[in-house]
């Protein structure tokens, strides 16, 4: 049952949460991924193993983690180690999903979080890779969470911080990245995308409620592939909203 009072953030969190597969390991970045992970663990995917880059594995936090190294990322965890152990677990193939963000994304799912403009004389200096490059390189599947507009969905990045499919099929393997890895979804403020397997190009899978395909296209700076059966994402359910508002983010810091 839907609840019409939801915000855009709440919708994104719910769409992202539904991507979590029960019984998988997931590398969780700051912000929406944390909320989505907690929501998924409280709904369809209680067996998700949240992994945080500075060492928390399998936490059962009673409160929303607000920093990737914070105490809540290893509250009642099964292990608290360090960044090398976590990144090496990813490098060995133990981390199924990575949830990351970026300032810009291109049709192949490459992400830019480093600079707008030239690297040495940028128009805007952004935070840099952080763990993004490691996650995009080493996890099996990555999900990007993005604001959706033409300045962010661009045909060509100023800087590839984190590899998606690079220049297309086979490119990841050719440069030495682990086989059979890469981006699988984008959750944006407008829609849910995946990648067309043959071309490795981004494809519209489902629009958010009230958003038209034309709107998504108009807000995308490159030729977005359109799935034959574009669906509409389910709005947040009453239960999802209750969990988000009452249990996950009662102080409404993010939602």
């Amino acid at each position: 049952m839907a609840d019409p009072t939801y915000s855009k953030s709440e919708l994104m969190i719910c769409v992202a949460a539904r991507l979590f597969q029960d019984g998988t390991t997931a590398f969780i970045g700051t912000g929406i991924p944390m909320l989505a992970a907690m929501l998924a663990m409280k709904t369809h995917a209680p067996g998700v193993v949240p992994i945080f880059e500075f060492g928390g594995t399998g936490a059962q936090p009673t409160q929303l983690p607000n920093m990737v190294g914070g105490a809540r990322t290893f509250e009642r965890a099964i292990a608290a180690s360090g960044i090398c152990d976590i990144m090496e677990a990813a490098q060995r193939g133990f981390i199924d999903y990575g949830f990351i963000g970026g300032a810009q994304i291109d049709p192949f799912g490459n992400l830019n979080s480093t600079v707008i403009g030239a690297h040495d004389h940028p128009k805007a200096r952004l935070p840099g890779s952080g763990g993004g490059n490691d996650v995009g390189s080493l996890c099996w599947k990555t999900v990007a969470i993005m604001l959706h507009d033409k300045r962010r969905f661009v045909p060509r990045l100023d800087f590839i911080t984190t590899p998606g499919y690079l220049t297309g099929p086979g490119a990841r393997e050719a440069v030495g990245l682990p086989k059979a890895t890469g981006p699988v979804n984008v959750v944006s403020t407008l829609a849910l995308m995946d990648y067309e397997p043959a071309s490795c190009r981004m494809r519209l899978r489902a629009t958010h409620p009230g958003v038209t395909v034309a709107e998504v296209i108009a807000n995308t700076g490159f030729d977005l592939l359109i799935a034959e059966d574009v669906r509409v994402n389910e709005p947040p359910s009453v239960d999802e909203l209750r969990l988000l508002r009452a249990e996950i983010d009662p102080e409404r810091l993010y939602i």
Partner: protein
């Protein structure tokens, strides 16, 4: 094992393993020497202008903030710095102390980008060499292992690599391309721990971030500690020692040393002060006003804690 590609970033701190070995032989006492001193003493003695320095873990989590502030108070110049940074690097950048960055992330997590970084980079005051978080940690790990480099399968294919000082080479065992990360030997490392003895034997509760690696990758290591404990406690649980004394040059007693960041099991993040920085740092003037209030007008960490106030500190304490 031919070199296929090479990042065009400057290798800001080229590793010299022989010099590091000689340093570790001659400049690190094997004896148990009392190393307790103040922030002012430690920074004055071991942090030089132009040095290559790093802090662990990051500004809002178990970060040596009392030492970070003292570096500003003493206005160390032309620092070359590695790291992700939240708050701590922001403060240094805002204070104009930094000239070069081995950068992986400088920002404010969910609160957005760093205004101090943007101002510094866009003004050309700071040059950046790019790395991933894993890469910086592995570079310290290589130094900690005493080897010239460590391979990784991250970084490949990205502009992060193109603007780093990493090398792509052919793995001689499999023929596949692999990224080689040069060892990162820091001139100075700052690490905040839960407890240490007077000689520097240190314990950390919870995640260890990259404390293990950084402690072993530094020529000079300044520890700050919530609590100074007896060596007998160290010897009773030697498997808890993540940093043995012989790596350490200074031990600074610093209760609430990570404030306004959190310290797991001890105290939570002080959101009020953190948000004050976030708001203030939008402008250069605001950032300087924050530094004046929280750094320059308080002579030391004790005065800083007085400024925060015992009542507020008590509220932050974890039961």
């Amino acid at each position: 094992m031919n070199v296929i590609a090479q990042g065009q970033g400057e290798l800001i701190q080229p590793p010299d393993l022989e010099a590091f070995r000689e340093w570790n032989r001659t400049r690190k006492a094997r004896q148990l020497v009392d190393k307790v001193m103040t922030e002012a003493e430690a920074v004055a003695q071991f942090v030089a202008d132009g040095c290559y320095i790093g802090t662990e873990l990051y500004g809002t989590v178990r970060c040596p903030m009392s030492l970070t502030r003292e570096v500003i108070r003493q206005r160390k110049k032309n620092l070359r710095v590695c790291g992700q940074g939240v708050l701590e690097l922001d403060l240094w950048l805002a204070a104009g102390l930094v000239s070069q960055l081995d950068l992986t992330y400088v920002g404010l997590e969910v609160f957005g980008t760093s205004h101090a970084l943007r101002r510094a980079v866009e003004a050309g005051a700071v040059t950046c060499v790019e790395w991933s978080n894993g890469a910086i940690a592995w570079r310290m790990k290589a130094a900690a292992m005493g080897v010239p480099f460590i391979p990784t399968r991250a970084m490949l294919g990205s502009d992060t690599l193109a603007h780093s000082a990493a090398i792509v080479a052919t793995d001689p065992f499999t023929g596949a391309p692999v990224c080689l990360l040069p060892a990162l030997i820091l001139d100075v490392g700052l690490i905040h721990v839960h407890r240490a003895d007077r000689f520097g034997n240190a314990q950390i509760d919870g995640i260890t971030g990259f404390a293990f690696e950084m402690a072993r990758a530094c020529k000079r290591l300044i520890l700050s500690a919530e609590e100074i404990i007896a060596t007998d406690e160290i010897r009773a649980h030697p498997d808890r020692t993540i940093i043995p004394y012989y790596l350490v040059d200074a031990v600074v007693p610093a209760p609430f040393g990570a404030h306004p960041g959190e310290m797991a099991y001890c105290y939570e993040r002080d959101d009020a002060v953190y948000r004050e920085w976030i708001a203030a740092s939008v402008t250069a003037e605001g950032a300087l006003a924050y530094l004046a209030k929280y750094v320059d007008r308080v002579p030391d960490h004790r005065a800083y804690l007085d400024l925060i106030g015992e009542q507020r500190l008590a509220e932050l304490r974890v039961a």
